[in-house]
Amino acid sequence: MIEKRKSWMSLLAISDQNDLLNLWDQKKIKISYEWLRQPEIGSIMAQGKMGVTGDKFNIGEVTITRCSVKLDCGTIGHSYVQGRSKRKAEISAVCDALLQTKMSKEVNENIIIPLEKIKKDKRDKILSKAEATKVDFFTLVRSESD
């Protein structure tokens, strides 16, 4: 369960807000909830490692929006999403809650699976374009006789 939840929360976090909002609006899921924490815009400090494997250092910050909701059934959903869209954070938290309830199948099919496909398509496109720029070296054999 934790692995699955990590996976959908991660997907929601990095999804494009327009993609998420479109999918959500198309589905018209009627659900009522209350705020545990209103959407809040902030940042996290991204860290790297010196020389790839060494000690940590700070690179710079990334904007993040977070919020928490509670459904009428008591299920709690959280979100930490990239960017400054409060609506994206809200829908992500509601999806996180719903995915823990009986409605998980519906949300999975209509929101999560399409978002996964968008992510995969985007990545495959990058990888296939990068592959086309791979250098094929050919060595000219030089005669050693002279």
Binding site: I14, G48, M50, K56, N58, I126, K129
Partner: protein, 359 residues
């Protein structure tokens, strides 16, 4: 005599109003949209994010538009906004071995696992103006090719295996954060790397070039340069586990430099390291050269007095917001300061004249 000066509000308001009008330009020309900036002036956006030290494309685009394309002004706007944000937390360190590479090249080895991928680069173009861009034609899609989705290992890890490359050890230390604590000298490599990563590209470029011209002996090879997408992991305290919260583009550069060895270490190669937000390879490369030059003390090398070896000089002057703030403030009214200078010089001259008479 002290004179308090007030006024100028109307002049300032009117100046700003004219600036806004000029920023908009000819109203018959369509207004530039933020999407156009993020999609078509990508590298400008990346520079503003890296030196503004905040990864947010929309805000960077807004800053570029607001600043009429003055990137240092845009960086200033983003830095100022950054200070208003609540800091939630620090991420887990990003593992760049998991990078989805758009570009990955090595100038030290020809045949590398994963191959040399040029990516969307200006290299090997002829740097001739392309008049075809004057016509607003559709750009044809670039070719694609079948690929294997495998992790791309770092080129220098192969030298690590032979112990020819100095190992970068993780001692699990928490780095200082220069946005929270002022830098004091001598400083740590972590503080230097943070300052360099958001430092001014032009300043770093000039300094890095100076090392190549002989001011600090460090002849660098580009062991690897990679640009691509990485995910950022964050521990969520409410849940007690980690999730990915963001996806960003990073440019990473590792240079290979010779090292003579010391009393305790055999001769081996050492690394200069650059890691920067966005597609910013000139900056990442310069950062790696300067990182290596600044490591002279740790590696027991001679201090040749070169600017790039002087961490206080480099780190105190690489931040373009500090620099421009101090530089540009001198154009603001200094009437009172100058009046005291004026009175002083009049007095000295009068005294000197009196002394001459006396002689």
């Amino acid at each position: 005599m002290y004179v308090a000066v007030k006024g100028g509000e109307k002049a300032i308001d009117n100046a700003h109003s004219w600036m806004s009008e000029i920023r908009r330009g000819d109203p018959s020309v369509p207004n530039v949209s933020l999407n156009q900036i993020t999609e078509q002036l990508t590298l400008g956006v990346d520079r503003v994010m890296s030196e503004g030290s905040l990864y947010d494309k929309d805000l960077a685009a807004l800053a570029i538009k607001q600043s009429r394309g003055d990137l240092i002004e845009a960086i200033f706007l983003l830095r100022a906004y950054r200070t208003t944000l609540k800091r939630f937390s620090y991420s887990k360190p990003i593992d760049t071995a998991n990078m989805l590479c758009l570009r990955r090249i090595s100038a030290t080895f020809k045949d590398i696992p994963g191959g040399q991928k040029l990516g969307p680069t200006f290299d090997y173009t002829h740097r001739l103006l392309d008049f075809k861009l004057l016509a607003e034609n559709e750009t044809p899609l670039s070719p694609t090719q079948q690929f294997e989705n495998k992790k791309v290992p770092h080129v220098l890890s192969f030298l690590n295996q032979e112990d020819l490359m100095q190992k970068e050890k993780d001692n699990n230390l928490d780095p200082i954060d220069i946005t929270r604590e002022p830098i004091s000298f001598p400083t740590s490599r972590a503080a230097r790397l943070q300052a360099l990563s958001r430092g001014d590209e032009g300043f770093l470029l000039g300094l890095a070039y100076s090392t190549q011209r002989g001011y600090a002996r460090n002849h660098a090879f580009v062991g690897e340069l990679r640009i691509g997408i990485v995910e950022i992991e964050l521990n969520i305290p409410e849940l007690g586990f980690d999730i990915n919260v963001a996806e960003i583009i990073l440019t990473e550069c590792e240079t290979v430099n010779q090292f003579q060895g010391s009393k305790i270490e055999p001769p081996q190669f050492t690394r200069g390291y650059g890691l920067v937000f966005g597609q910013t390879e000139r900056k990442a490369l310069a950062m790696a050269l300067i990182d290596r030059a600044l490591r002279w003390k740790e590696l027991g090398e001679d201090y040749s007095g070169a600017p790039a070896q002087d961490e206080e000089f480099v780190i105190s002057h690489c931040d373009n917001i500090q620099a421009t703030g101090f530089l540009e403030h001198i154009k603001l009214p200094h009437y009172v300061d100058f009046q005291s200078e004026l009175e002083l010089i009049r007095k000295i001259r009068a005294d000197a004249k009196r002394n001459v008479k006396r002689l």
